[in-house]
């Protein structure tokens, strides 16, 4: 299997503060990769670096072999990397439909269109003219996911996919996930719930204080190994 996305010796900074140290990461086509770690471990920074929201050394991130570490966010999006950001980040002045349409800005062709997103989340079709702020949290997450899918990405990244959502909503979002990923998309998921991360992902990376502490296939790692890498102490 070829490597779709690779990070090599990735260091990321916020001003003088270093958030990632020499991170190594490799994601194969069709993988579902979970990234776990405590608050402040650098999970979001890692996704922001890949998405181009943080500038990095060009060769520290490669997508299909192309160095993209230095790319601006809109250029990264055009290559086929989409981010479902933490806290949804919908545009309050725009309607649901306008939010979704913006996802198609990059003009990549594929399975996903307004029609197929409405098929995946029928409630959004009903509420398409409503301002995005008037939706429930779960519906907002659907818009954020739909908006990312509208770009027909090769790689979709979910930052804190279940943050602030009711358990029943989280279940229904996870139920839809296979449909999202089955369209030839590779996925990265940041999830606080380790059990859920392990059950839906094929590989897992555990970050601690900006470094990769543990990585491997989910079926080869023990729960204890992950807990230890997560907290940094034997639990």
């Amino acid at each position: 299997m070829s490597s779709l996305l690779e990070a090599q010796a990735l260091n990321a900074f916020y001003g003088d503060f270093q958030a990632l140290y020499e991170v190594e990461l490799s994601i194969n086509e069709g993988d579902v990769v979970a990234i776990v770690g405590a608050n402040g471990a650098g999970k979001t920074t890692l996704l922001r670096s890949i998405a181009g929201l943080l500038k990095n050394d060009a060769h520290s991130i490669r997508f299909n072999g192309t160095p993209i570490g230095h790319y601006r966010a809109d250029k990264v999006a055009k290559l086929g990397i989409a981010l479902v950001p933490e806290g949804r980040q919908l545009f309050p002045s725009l309607s649901v439909e306008e939010n979704l349409k913006l996802g198609a800005t990059v003009g990549r062709k594929g399975h996903w269109s307004l029609h197929s997103v409405f098929e995946l989340f029928p409630i959004l079709k009903e509420r398409r003219a409503v301002a995005s702020t008037q939706l429930s949290g779960g519906q907002q997450q659907m818009v954020a996911i739909g908006r990312a899918l509208m770009s027909n990405p090769d790689l979709i990244m979910f930052d804190e996919i279940s943050l602030g959502l009711a358990p029943v909503i989280i279940n229904s979002i996870y139920e839809q996930l296979p449909q999202v990923i089955n369209q030839g998309t590779t996925a990265v998921i940041i999830e606080q719930d380790i059990t859920r991360a392990l059950s839906s992902a094929s590989r897992v990376y555990c970050l601690q204080e900006g470094r990769v502490k543990l990585s491997g296939r989910t079926d080869e790692l023990t729960r204890q190994q992950i807990t230890q890498a997560y907290f940094g102490v034997a639990a």
Binding site: A51, G52, L53, R72, A73, D74, A77, K78, A82, L83, P85, Q89, L90, F91, P92, S93, L94, S95, E97, E98, K101, L102, G103, T105, V106, R128, A129, V130, A131, R147, A148, S151
Partner: protein, 339 residues
């Protein structure tokens, strides 16, 4: 009960009809208005155009500039330079001035777009000062003391004074309609959606592939070109230009910001309300000299405290009104559902 998704409401349809009627009445003004009123109306249209343009830049693209007088003055000076030295018809010179302003705004943008927020604002002001000092050096255009438009050029517009005055009036109202329509259709297009997204959340827009830098550049270039055209028209009305008048930060930026902030930034209706209030204050209080400026400042402070979204923001929030429909709304009606 069926619902219908639409942009217009009963209020917006009615208001637009009233507005269209008002425009028609104003188009006939040269037949019923006196010379002084015609001149005042022309000035109002030009100020409203400047306000709409500044609002597009600051209110929609987030480019808070205090240096748009650079392009007002540039457009004015291009009118004088191109008519006097290139022998071009004044109207053609004004349009050419707009195109030249677009060309010059690109290198200016690559320079000042490196700055953000307050630094960007100061940077634009510095650029405007550079423009002023540069034009003051050109002795062919009168240097620091400026020059007047030669009589022969003024007469090339029209033979009689009244014909010239009505031509100048039509140019002003015509350019206002052009500016307003351009902004309205821009904001309703896909590009307008991207622009609104940038204003709401810049990094989320970039993540979706919106080229934030280029979108802002496009807005800056278009705004600067149209501002220069308005500047040309302003000095066609005045017939005299000097660096101090052409690049006045008070006249072409401070008053314009006052208008937009009072009326409501980031709305299409705001600049109209703001312009009406500004001219009402000016026409009634201008005789008081500096006291007038103090009252303007006081009004600005009160509005900013009591209605941070401007007077139109206050009205539209309370009554959920929109004259120029940009938002979608769901209407309950007996007709069948439509997209």
């Amino acid at each position: 009960m069926n619902t219908r998704v639409t942009r217009s409401s009963r209020f917006s349809n009615g208001a637009l009809a009233v507005l269209a009627l008002l425009v028609v009445v104003l188009l006939t003004a040269p037949w019923w208005a006196g010379r002084a009123e015609l001149r005042l109306f022309g000035e109002i249209y030009l100020y409203l155009s400047l306000a709409c343009l500044w609002n597009l830049m600051a209110g929609y693209a987030g480019l808070v500039s205090v240096g748009q007088q650079a392009y007002v003055g540039f457009g004015g000076y291009m009118l004088f330079a191109l008519t006097i030295y290139a022998g071009i018809h004044p109207v053609a010179a004004i349009i050419a001035g707009g195109l030249l302003a677009a060309a010059i705004s690109i290198p200016v943008a690559t320079l000042i777009f490196r700055l953000n927020g307050a630094y960007f604002a100061i940077g634009t002001w510095v650029v405007a000062e550079v423009f002023r000092l540069s034009f003051a050096q050109v002795s062919a255009l009168g240097g620091g003391s400026g020059s007047s438009l030669p009589v022969a050029i003024v007469k090339s517009l029209a033979d009689s004074r009244s014909a010239r005055e009505s031509l100048s009036y039509y140019l002003a109202i015509g350019s206002l309609i052009l500016v307003f329509a351009a902004i309205y259709f821009l904001l309703r297009s896909n590009r307008g959606i991207a622009l609104t997204a940038i204003r709401d959340n810049e990094s989320a827009a970039a993540e979706l592939g919106v080229n934030v830098w280029r979108t802002k550049l496009e807005i800056y270039v278009v705004t600067s070109a149209l501002t220069a055209i308005i500047g040309g028209l302003i000095f066609l009305q005045k017939l005299r230009i000097s660096p101090e008048a052409a690049f006045s930060v008070n006249d072409w930026t401070a008053f314009v910001i006052f208008i937009v902030v009072i009326g409501g930034i980031g709305t299409l209706e705001g600049p109209i309300i703001g312009t009406i209030i500004f001219f009402l204050l000016r026409e009634t209080l201008a005789d008081f000299g500096t006291t007038y400026l103090m009252i303007l400042g006081l009004v600005a402070i009160i509005v900013m405290i009591k209605a941070p979204k401007g007077l139109w923001g206050l009205i539209s929030q309370r009554y959920d009104l929109e004259i120029f429909p940009l938002r979608y709304r769901v209407q309950q009606s007996a007709t069948t559902e439509q997209g």
